[in-house]
């Protein structure tokens, strides 16, 4: 019974994968991806690509200059992840 379920599950998975590959290839080839099609006036945030040497520095400066909120939240996610691993790996003694 469980062997039949495994083969059925594999067949469904293969069908889903083939279907999604066909769908995605139709989408990519026939319909153009509307790159920045609905973009407003956002050109000021772009960095010129020409001086190749400084590119890494200017892109990472963007992270600190404009995304401090997400970095702060990410610090709390890291604290939460450490607490999660502690909770999972500490021995579970009956009564603390």
């Amino acid at each position: 019974m469980s062997d039949k379920m495994t083969r059925y599950g594999t067949a469904v998975t293969a069908f889903v994968i083939v279907l999604s590959l066909l769908l995605f290839s139709w989408l990519t080839v026939d319909v153009e991806f509307p790159v920045f099609a609905y973009r407003g006036d956002l050109d000021w945030q772009l960095t010129p690509a020409e001086p190749f040497n400084d590119l890494g520095a200017s892109v990472s400066r963007f992270l600190w200059d404009h995304r401090a909120l997400d970095l702060t939240a990410q610090a709390f996610v890291l604290v939460a992840a450490v607490t999660c691993c502690l909770a999972l790996l500490k021995p579970d003694t009956e009564g603390s």
């Binding site: 994968i17 990519t28 790159v35 920045f36 772009l46 960095t47 892109v59 404009h66 890291l78 999660c84």
Partner: protein, 103 residues
């Protein structure tokens, strides 16, 4: 200005590979690797879209990807801690043995 189509094809292949890995593989660590592949497909799509303005680079997706990498890593770390706990109970990491919770 890089051509976008090869990158879209690569993203689609990675997404499908990750999804298949998640659904078919019986080893728990490989399921976690499948999840990681799917996250990296989304990151690749972000980076390849940042090059599409002619002569310029958009630094916004690069910062998004840098933060998404960290978040993805934490999820995988907690997943591995859970795999260790599963091993302690079931003495195997075959996900087909985890069928005691039915219906």
């Amino acid at each position: 200005m890089l051509p976008l189509m090869p990158y879209l094809v690569a993203v689609a292949l990675m997404l499908v590979t990750g999804l298949g890995c998640l659904m078919i593989k019986r080893d728990m660590v490989r399921i976690l690797i499948g999840i990681e592949i799917m996250f990296n497909a989304a990151n690749l799509l972000f980076i390849s879209l940042s090059t599409q303005a002619a002569g310029f680079i958009d630094p916004f997706p690069h910062s998004v990807v840098m933060m998404a990498l960290v978040l993805d890593g934490t999820v995988i770390a907690v997943g591995l801690a859970m795999v260790m706990n599963v091993y302690k109970h079931y003495k195997t990491i075959d996900v087909r043995k985890l069928r005691r919770l039915r219906w």
